[in-house]
Every structure is written in structure tokens, then in C-alpha cells.
Amino acid sequence: MKKTALIIAASMCVMVPVLARQPYPEYPTAQPKVRFAPLHIYVDSGERALGAFQFELKAFGGQIKIVGVEGGEHAAFKEPGYYDPAALANDRIIIAAFNTANELPSGRTRIATIHLQITGRVEPEYGLELTVAADADGQEIPAEITFETGEQK
């Protein structure tokens, strides 16, 4: 009997600390997954030379934060466009740029890449609104805005 009690006591001495060191079972946290992805913005101004643009970006079904604005492919828009900080403070992403140089792009051209932080596992749906496109003289011109996702273009 004494022997059994001793064995039980010794086992407890060994087991208790071992059990105490066991980690709690892990469960997936409720924290949303965060990732980063670019959004490439294109404007097609047809045969007209593009001298200026302003657009607004929205996302549906997912949470995005702008973390960088990259310049476009044509030399005229190589410098990154400006975002409106006042609009950003109200969760709106408004980007604009202008250039009055002689060499301006026409047709479809990548005018910017927007670097985004995306929160959540759902792929957001993007909405782009071209507020204005203009030529070098500041005259409004018809143009179409589109986007592409994926890595570096």
C-alpha cells in the first residue's frame, strides 16, 4: 500500500510540472489576414494626348488602405501622382497628376500603380471613377479608366 502511495506521489511530482508546461490548445485568431497587393491603373485617351487626370478609387466587399502611389509607364507620368490627404482623412482615395510637357501619352497607358494593404480574406471589388482627364492645355478630354491586378507590370 505504502509502495503504491509512493509511486502515485512520485508520478504526480513528475506529471504536474510536465502538464503545467503544456501549452493551451491553439485556435485561429479572429484577427483578419493582412496582405499587400498592387492595383495598376490605366487610362485610354484614344488619340488625344493625356496631360492631366484625377480619379477616385473605392473598394467593395473588402477593406483596403492605400500604402503607396507609384508613377506610370510613360515619362510624362513617371513621377508618382498626388493623393488628396484631406480626402484620405475621410477614407476616400483621390489621385491626380498633370504634366504640360510636349511628349504626352495617348491611347491606353498605365498612369499609376496604387499599392494597397488589403485586410480580410475576401478579394475586394474595386470601383474606379475618372473624375477628369485633360490635355496639356487643361481642356477636358474623353477617356476611359481601367485597372489590372497582379505583380509588377
Binding site: 493582412v34 496582405r35 499587400f36 497587393a37 498592387p38 488602405k65 492605400i66 500604402v67 503607396g68 502611389v69 507609384e70 508613377g71 513617371k78 513621377e79 508618382p80 501622382g81 498626388y82 493623393y83 490627404p85 484631406a86 484620405l88 482623412a89 500603380t113 499599392h115 494597397l116 494593404q117 505583380e151 509588377q152
Partner: protein, 854 residues
């Protein structure tokens, strides 16, 4: 068995009692004289004010220097004998031969010692002048003993204890070795022979201590940095030449500096000045010289009034504009991007003039540039416009218990300061390879008569009389001191100038308001002049010499109706006399003698200087001017500014920044809060000229109680809220928002010597030549500054939220916002790699050993 156990317990208990009794007895045993060579435990105070235990070797028959063995009564009596006061209130002592005598004096005279003590100390037949300071130990690890206690009641100078270093705190700072310097003869010898290793005392041969060879810097140390220290046996063991704190610095022949491969290669600065507004672009070029991926961290300065509104990360040919975010959010984004392997950069503000740049995931052999753009208004000082670009953050002193400061640590010693922000400094003899290029294009609008830069080599090219391009010489590209460009334009009578900007947010303006010309023909009232001199370790050498020159000059320019006072501070404060000293030839001589006796050592307890100067009894019949002379190397700026605000009273503060890279934010704020002005004395400037201009300014009454009738302008949100006094040669810049158009007249009214005076300024709000797009940012920056100043005194309100809101709306950097840029296009392989801090050189004229924690 039980009996045996009992016996053992009793024996153990008895042994314990015996041992306890023994140690208790040791603590109270009197040991005036050591019977044989032995180690003595002593408590010394470090630069940070903490008491630390150390051991001092005492040779046979010697007084062990431990004042703890004296009774309180004995100590007091001894101090009364030693310390005397002359008729003018200056304390002095003579015939001090025992270390404990110093401690008695310290205890009697001041909390932390370092009281001015004048007198002669006969030692081994030589006369040694005790110039200042009090603590007989502490100080540099690895600096070598300049004074050795010979065990017979005398101190003898000797050199070559490299690595012993006073109390052996591994070069922690200037310590409390304070500044007993040796008599003139001895100093002259050292001055004329600075290439010698260490110093040699009579009858002693310099020999290297356990720390290895004497540090190279002692060979160039000036006379006021000879340290009297006890021979210590604290274990500062030399490990290898690269190990900081071992007291064995690398000895390299002059000109052969060791280049440390670091991620910051180059900084390029391009400034454009239009009128009195500068637009500056700073490009920092980071690259990775290592074999693995790194994160670079660089703490750097910018002007305290810089309105930073653009931040671009350049990766190869691609430019990514950074986004302004609430600071914590930006930090979170950066960390997430970094941890996921994206190239990213983050810019945060630690002080209005100190920033941290982080660049993550720089791959081996690759480079990432960061481009920062800001606007700032130029100062107009005594007829000269002044463009300043700071190049290095000076090493700050943080008071004990303070953790929100800016620590100054040796390269590779991250975290040892315990401060929120840390700057790592290169050791003497090390070179980072980081250099700087700088170009400034000035378009003054009127002919530029003269342009000069006293502290850097420049080249000038004038495309037109009103246009000038200034370039920093490639031969002067080490970023270790401020770049200060001054230029003067044609026309002695400058008109107050208004610059405006309009956008969808409304109208913004800045007005440079010049004092009326006739002020310079009026004489001032009698003055009560208080000079406050920073005598901390960072001021030692050239800076304190410049400051003393300035005070000497100023003393000689006082008028018979004036009074004066001289206050010094480092770990504590002391002053020339108990009350204002009348200006007499005899008192001026006394003042000059007192100034001569002051040395730089110890910490920067500026609060003590503030209290001493502003709590000083005021003579209501005199106009009180307090002149602070300091490098401003402190980390607790908010505490100092709060004290100034609380204690200012009738005083006016004129702050003088002395040194090559001073804390301009602190000095500017002190002057603004103190309703005075700021001036800077670079190490290459003539202190006399600066003081002459200062006297010229204060020799005439100021235009006080200034009010403005804006005429057709509807002005709101103007900063500063209260218009400061206008001194001769010192215009004031006002900035605000407005509505209105067309021509109108601004009327300014102020008081001069009891009479009111009016100034009228005709303006045209539609004049396109008087427009600048940076004005909105300048206004928002001023508003943030104003709110931040309020936040110092009012920590309960929602001022931080207000600051954040303004900063986010105008896209500006602040303490609560940050710029972040992420390249989401690509992930680099592996985790984020090693974090590498970019160490910087200590500013020119500042001694690494006295300021950097090692």
C-alpha cells in the same frame, strides 16, 4: 540522527550569526589609514546621477579617502575648515590634500558637487590649482588616470592608465571626474605637446593599464580635460580592440580612418529659396553592403520648422509616393509589410527636429533611395537671411529616470541608453563612408549683395544679380555640422513682406514684420543681465571656450547702471554671487575671473540652470535679460520648456546656441517662450561679433504690446497667437488664414518706452508675384507647433487628436503622424533580415568621450 541534525543546525545558525556580525562590523569599522595595500569600496555618482559601487586601491599607510568613516559632525567641521568664502561670495578652498576633503566640500556646497572652488593645492612640492569641480573620481573608462593618489595624502599626476578610467564606467560619459585641472605650467606643457600619450607626473612613468594602450583621443585632448581620478580596479577588461567600453580604442595614424560599411551611402540636399521661403528636397541613398537582407534605421535631423509634406521611396527606376497616416497605424503597416518581405519605408518624428527613417528589406547589393521634401521659412537675423540645414543629431543628455529622451550610444550598443530613441555614434577614428552634397538656389527677388557660409566650404555662381547658386564643396562633404548659409540683399530699409496662397481650403498668408527703423535711435533702460552658461561635458573644449568669449565680451559692454549675474550649470547650478552684482570695474574683473574658472564636465541638468536664472530675485527697476549659452544637448526638452513657461515672469530670454550642430528646436522655443530672440555661435564664428550684434539689438527698446488692424483682410488662426516684441534687427514672421481680395492697408501699433507708435503696410492680395504654394503647409506646420506647445502644459485635453487631424488633412509630418511607403508588387525572399542602425559622427567640436554612452 536527530541529535546530529540538531547539532548541525545550531552550528549553521551560529556560523550565520558570526558572519552577519562580521559583515555588520565591517560596515561600521573605522579605517582611516590602510595598514596594507587594499581595495576600498566607494560609492560614486555617474553622469546619469545614479550611485554605483566601485573599488579603489589604497596603498599601505594611506588615507582611504572614504568619507563614510567620518562622523557627520567630523565631516561638517572639516568642511567648515576647508571651504571659505571671499568677500564677494565666491567659495574657495586651499591646501586640499585628501580625497575625503573634496567630498566634505561637495556635501557642504552642493548636492552633486562641481561647485566652483578656487585655491591652491600643494602637492609633492608642486602647486596645483584646483580650478573647478569637486568629484574626485568617476569619469572615463579607458581615459587613463591623469592624477594618482600616492597614498601619502597627496595626489600626483600620471598618465597611461588606459582602461582604468576613473571609476571605470567604460567611458560612460564625462562622469564626475569633474575638472580638476592642473596648474598653468603643467597645462602649458600638455598644450604644447598634445601628441604625447597621456600626461606625466613628477616621479612617475606613464604605463599602460589593464585597458591596453591609451586611447588616441587623449593625445589631442585640450588642457581642460585632464581628469583627476582614483586608481580603480573595476573590471573593465580589454577584450579586443573593437570592443567598445574596454578602454582600448583603435590607435590609427592621423588621416587613416577606419571605414565602416553602412547602409546609408549618401545624402543629397537641393534647396530652392524664393523670398524667405525655402523648398528643400533631401534624398537619402541606402544600399546593402552585406551578404544578407537588412533593415536600415537612421536617426537624422531636419530644421525644427520644416513642414514635411512629401515622401517618396525610389526602388530602381520606380518611385512610390509615401502616404501620411496616423503614426501607430503607419508603424503597423510598415511592420506587416516588412515581416512579409515587402520593401517598405517609414518616416517618424521623434522631436520637431529629429526624425527616424526605416527602410526594410534591402537585398544584398541593392539600393533604395528615400526622398523627403519640406518647406520652411528662413530666419532674418541682423540684416542677413539664414538658410540652415542640420546634418547630425548632437548627443543628448537625459536626466536620471527619464526614458522618453534621445540616447547617445556607441556604434553597436543599441538599447543601452534605455531611451525611446537612440542615436549611435561612430568612435573617433571611424568613418562611415556616408557623405553629403548640397545645392541651394536663391531667387531673392532683389539683388543679393553678399552670401557667406562660415562653417563649410562652398562655391557660388550668380546667374543674375538676384539669383545665386551655392554648392557645398565636395571636399567638405562629411555631415558632422550644420550648414548655415547667410545672405544679404540690397536695400538697408526692408519693408514688411506679405506672401499669400489660395486654394480650395481658402486663403493663407505669411507676413514678415520688420521693426520700425527709428527704434535704433532710442536708448534702452538699465538692464539686469543674467548670463547662464552650460558647463556640461558636451560643451567642453571649443564650445565652452566660445561661450566664455561671448560672456567676457558682453561683460565688458555693460553700462554703469546695469547689474549682472553669472550662473553655471551642469549636474547642478551655482552662481557668481547671491544677488545681482552692480557693474563696477572691480566686479567686472571678478566676473571675468569667475568665467575663466568655468570648465565643461558632467551632465546637463538644464532645469537647474532654468530655476537658478528665472527664480532669481528680480530688480523691478531694470529690464531683465537672461542669456542662455548652451548647445541644448538634452532629451527632456518638454520639461525645460514647461519650466520656462512657468517661471518666466518679467524676464526676457535670449538663447545662444553654441557649437557646430546645436539643438535649434530647444533654443528657438526657449527664445520664443521667453519673448526674446535666438542667436547661434558656430565654432568658426566670432563670438565677439555675435555679442556685438546682440548688444546692438538690446541697446534699443523693443516695440512691445503689438496689435494689428488687418484692414480689408479677415484674418483667423494666426500664429503665433500673441505677437512678440519687435527688437531691432529681428523681424517676426506671422502666418494665418484670411479672406479678402484687392488692395488694403495693414496698420500695426506698438509701445516704445511708454509711447505708442504706428506702422502702415500697403498690400495687394491679388499680387501673383507675392504668392507661394508652400504657404498652406507653413501655416499648418505653425498650427501643429502651437498645439504641440500647448500639449506640453496641458496633457489632459485632446490636443494630440487635434494635431493629428491637422497633420492628416494637410499631409504633414508630426509627432502623431508618419509617412509609410510599401512596394506591394514584389516580396523579397526570406524574413526581413538584420536591423542595422546608421551610426553618425559626433558633431564637430563635441567630444565622443564626454557625451556618448559606451
Amino acid at each position: 540522527m536527530k541529535t546530529k541534525l540538531k547539532a548541525a543546525s545550531i552550528i549553521l545558525a551560529l556560523t550565520g550569526l558570526i558572519l552577519a556580525g562580521y559583515f555588520a562590523g565591517c560596515g561600521t569599522r573605522r579605517a582611516d589609514m590602510a595598514e596594507k595595500p587594499q581595495q576600498v569600496d566607494q560609492t560614486v555618482a555617474r553622469r546619469d546621477g545614479k550611485d554605483v559601487q566601485t573599488k579603489v586601491i589604497v596603498e599601505a599607510g594611506a588615507d582611504n579617502g572614504d568619507i563614510s568613516v567620518r562622523t557627520e559632525q567630523e565631516s561638517k567641521k572639516r568642511a567648515d575648515i576647508l571651504l571659505k568664502t571671499d568677500e564677494s561670495g565666491i567659495p574657495y578652498a586651499d591646501k586640499i590634500t585628501y580625497p575625503k576633503d573634496w567630498w566634505e566640500i561637495i556635501d557642504k556646497q552642493g548636492r552633486k558637487g562641481e561647485v566652483p572652488v578656487l585655491g591652491d593645492m600643494p602637492i609633492a612640492g608642486k602647486s596645483f590649482k584646483l580650478d573647478s569641480g569637486a568629484y574626485g573620481m568617476g569619469g572615463y573608462g579607458g581615459y587613463g588616470g591623469a592624477m594618482y593618489y600616492d597614498g601619502h595624502g597627496s595626489f600626483l599626476p600620471r598618465g597611461g592608465y588606459g582602461g582604468y578610467g576613473g571609476a571605470g564606467y567604460g567611458g560612460y560619459g564625462e562622469g564626475y571626474g569633474s575638472s580638476y585641472s592642473i596648474d598653468g605650467r603643467y597645462l602649458s606643457k600638455l598644450k604644447s605637446d598634445q601628441k604625447q600619450l597621456g600626461t606625466r607626473g613628477p616621479g612617475y612613468t606613464p604605463r599602460p593599464g589593464p585597458g591596453g594602450p591609451l586611447p588616441i583621443d587623449l593625445r589631442t585632448v585640450s588642457a581642460d580635460e585632464i581628469w583627476i581620478i582614483a586608481k580603480s580596479e573595476v573590471a573593465v577588461v580589454a577584450r579586443d580592440a573593437e570592443t567598445p567600453g574596454c578602454g582600448a580604442m583603435i590607435c590609427r595614424p592621423p588621416g587613416q580612418e577606419k571605414e565602416i560599411p553602412l547602409p546609408l551611402k549618401h545624402t543629397d540636399v537641393k534647396g530652392q529659396i524664393s523670398g524667405y521661403i525655402a523648398t528643400v528636397e533631401v534624398t537619402q541613398e541606402f544600399s546593402n553592403p552585406y551578404d544578407e537582407k537588412i533593415e536600415a534605421v537612421y536617426v537624422f535631423p531636419l530644421p525644427q520648422n520644416a513642414a514635411i509634406n512629401e515622401f517618396i521611396m525610389v526602388v530602381g527606376e520606380r518611385k512610390i509616393r509615401g502616404i501620411i497616416r496616423e503614426r501607430q497605424e503607419a508603424e503597423r503597416i510598415y511592420k506587416e509589410a516588412r515581416d512579409q518581405g515587402h520593401m517598405a519605408s517609414l518616416l517618424t518624428q521623434e522631436r520637431p527636429n529629429i526624425f527616424t527613417q526605416k527602410v526594410a528589406n534591402i537585398e544584398p547589393g541593392k539600393k533604395i533611395d528615400v526622398n523627403i521634401k519640406y518647406f520652411n521659412t528662413l530666419a532674418y537675423v541682423d540684416g542677413w537671411y539664414e538658410f540652415v540645414f542640420p546634418m547630425v543629431v548632437g548627443p543628448r543628455f537625459n536626466p536620471p529616470g527619464f526614458t522618453d529622451g534621445v540616447g547617445a550610444v556607441a556604434r553597436g550598443k543599441a538599447g543601452i541608453s534605455g531611451q525611446k530613441t537612440e542615436v549611435q555614434y561612430l568612435k573617433p577614428g571611424e568613418r562611415s563612408g556616408h557623405d553629403i552634397s548640397l545645392t541651394v538656389d536663391i531667387n531673392a527677388g532683389v539683388a543679393i549683395e553678399e552670401a557667406a557660409c562660415s562653417n563649410h566650404a562652398i562655391s557660388k555662381n550668380a546667374a543674375a544679380p538676384e539669383k545665386l547658386t551655392v554648392k557645398l564643396s565636395p571636399l567638405d562633404s562629411i555631415p558632422n555640422k550644420d550648414f548655415v548659409l547667410r545672405y544679404r540683399v540690397a536695400g538697408r530699409k526692408l519693408k514688411s513682406a506679405l506672401v499669400v496662397h489660395r486654394d480650395k481650403r481658402g486663403g493663407f498668408f505669411t507676413l514678415m514684420l520688420y521693426p520700425p527703423a527709428n527704434l535704433s535711435s532710442l536708448r534702452r533702460a538699465p538692464m539686469e543681465m543674467i548670463f547662464v552658461l552650460d558647463c556640461s561635458g558636451s560643451m567642453s573644449g571649443k564650445p565652452i571656450a566660445k561661450a566664455k568669449d561671448a560672456i567676457r565680451r558682453a561683460l565688458k559692454k555693460l553700462e554703469p547702471d546695469d547689474t549682472f549675474q553669472i550662473i553655471r550649470f551642469s549636474n547642478n547650478a551655482s552662481q557668481l554671487g547671491p544677488k545681482p552684482v552692480p557693474v563696477t570695474p572691480e566686479n567686472i574683473r571678478r566676473g571675468l575671473k569667475y568665467v575663466d574658472s568655468l570648465k565643461g564636465s558632467g551632465g546637463t541638468q538644464m532645469i537647474e540652470g532654468i530655476k537658478a536664472a528665472l527664480d532669481f530675485e528680480h530688480d523691478p527697476h531694470r529690464f531683465r535679460l537672461v542669456s542662455f549659452m548652451t548647445d541644448g544637448y538634452i532629451g527632456n526638452e518638454a520639461q525645460i520648456l514647461e519650466a520656462v513657461q512657468e517661471r518666466l515672469g518679467e524676464s526676457r530670454i535670449f538663447s545662444f546656441g553654441v557649437g557646430s550642430s546645436v539643438n535649434r528646436y530647444l533654443l528657438d522655443r526657449m527664445a520664443k517662450l521667453g519673448r526674446g530672440a535666438v542667436a547661434y555661435i558656430g565654432l568658426d564664428d566670432s563670438a565677439g561679433e555675435v555679442v556685438d550684434l546682440y548688444y546692438d539689438r538690446i541697446s534699443h527698446p523693443a516695440l512691445t504690446d503689438v496689435t494689428i488692424d488687418w484692414g480689408g483682410m479677415a484674418v483667423t488662426d494666426m500664429y503665433p497667437r500673441h505677437i512678440p516684441d519687435l527688437f531691432v534687427g529681428r523681424p517676426v514672421i506671422l502666418t494665418g488664414r484670411f479672406k479678402g481680395e484687392g488692395k488694403t492697408t495693414i496698420n500695426i501699433t506698438g509701445k516704445v518706452g511708454g509711447h505708442y507708435q504706428d506702422i502702415s503696410i500697403p498690400i495687394d492680395l491679388d499680387d501673383s508675384s507675392a504668392a507661394h504654394r508652400g504657404i498652406a503647409c507653413v501655416w499648418a506646420r505653425k498650427k501643429i507647433e502651437d498645439l504641440a506647445n500647448q500639449a506640453i502644459y496641458d496633457q489632459t485635453s485632446d490636443l494630440p487628436d487635434e494635431i493629428k487631424q491637422v497633420a492628416l488633412e494637410y499631409g504633414l509630418m508630426s509627432a502623431y503622424t508618419a509617412f509609410v511607403a510599401v512596394d506591394s508588387s514584389r516580396k523579397t525572399a526570406g524574413d526581413h533580415g538584420v536591423t542595422v542602425a546608421v551610426p553618425v559622427p559626433v558633431p564637430e567640436g563635441v567630444r565622443y568621450e564626454t557625451t556618448v554612452q559606451n
